[in-house]
């Protein structure tokens, strides 16, 4: 294949990419792969989640706690949180990169996105573990 990287008329590469010589090759593929991997793990975990929520809906507090505290429920819930938190952070990062072009706003949005995903994950996992370890 002809190397036409230096000619912007035939290449989609920006001058900056030419200067760095890398394009997006630094880490783009890794993020893409983790996004797909979490998409795959989301499927069985979401199915489990729907069954768990359907089973708990409308039950009194003590029963709900006993249900969630069981390892067969608590473990898939923790895995679900890890999987969706990563998946949604990467998904929204793509949306931010598509629509937010002003540098400062973009950095702020990307940071807020990561913080949001971490706070959600920490709060959910802490709650599941607390329910599991303190349930009678």
């Amino acid at each position: 294949m002809v190397d036409n990287r230096s000619d912007t008329r035939v290449s989609m590469r920006t001058p900056l990419a030419r200067a760095k010589g890398l394009g997006a090759a630094g880490h783009g593929a890794g993020e893409w792969w983790i996004h797909r991997m979490t998409a795959v793990s989301n499927v069985p975990l979401v199915v489990a989640f729907v069954i768990i929520v359907a089973a708990i809906a409308g039950r009194p507090y003590a029963e709900a706690v006993r249900f969630v505290s069981h390892p067969i429920v608590a473990i898939p819930l923790v895995l679900l949180i890890v999987s969706i938190a990563n998946h949604m952070r990467m998904g929204v990062q793509i949306i931010i990169e598509d629509y937010v072009h002003q540098k400062g706003a973009k950095i702020a949005a990307l940071m807020a996105n990561t913080f949001f995903a971490i706070v959600i994950a920490a709060a959910c996992i802490f709650s599941i573990l607390k329910i599991s370890f303190t349930a009678a």
């Binding site: 912007t8 008329r9 989609m12 920006t14 001058p15 797909r36 998409a39 795959v40 989301n42 499927v43 979401v46 729907v50 359907a54 809906a57 409308g58 507090y61 003590a62 709900a64 706690v65 969630v68 819930l77 969706i84 938190a85 949604m88 998904g91 929204v92 949306i95 959600i120 709060a123 959910c124 802490f126 709650s127 599941i128 607390k130 329910i131």
Partner: protein, 131 residues
């Protein structure tokens, strides 16, 4: 650095230029449902934190989700979750290079909508009949 001014790079027109198609609509909906699920994790977090906090907090959350608005939110949540899940499966099929022919990809896009609606109705029928 001696450099010629870069030639204008090709630009893609935005959404409003195109005629709507099934694949385009389902692509847009996939992104919207993904964003909705992002916001929806707040509800999941409130539910789990309330359950970990005690009976009083949990009764408030139970009151909300048991209200007509709560039911509506949960029903919409179910459809959004099913739609994004099936949309994701569709993208995985494409990632492996299958279902790219015009008839196939339109069929897949339609099945995302039909399948998510059927699954949502099925889940709610089971839940409501089981109690």
């Amino acid at each position: 650095m001696a450099m010629n001014a870069p030639a204008p790079r090709p630009l893609s027109p935005h959404l409003q230029i195109y005629r709507w198609s099934w694949t385009m609509a389902m692509s847009v909906v996939h992104r919207i449902t993904g964003s909705a699920l992002y916001a929806g994790t707040v509800l999941l977090t409130i539910w789990l934190v309330a359950l970990a906090s005690g009976p009083e907090a949990y009764s408030w959350v139970g009151w909300f989700f048991g209200s007509p608005i709560g039911y509506l939110v949960l029903f919409a949540y179910t459809w959004i979750l099913m739609h994004h899940m099936l949309g994701g499966v569709r993208h995985l099929i494409w990632d492996f290079g299958h279902g790219m022919e015009p008839t196939e990809r339109i069929w897949l896009a339609r099945m995302t909508l039909i399948g998510s609606t059927l699954l949502t109705v099925l889940i709610w029928a089971v839940v409501l009949l089981a109690r």
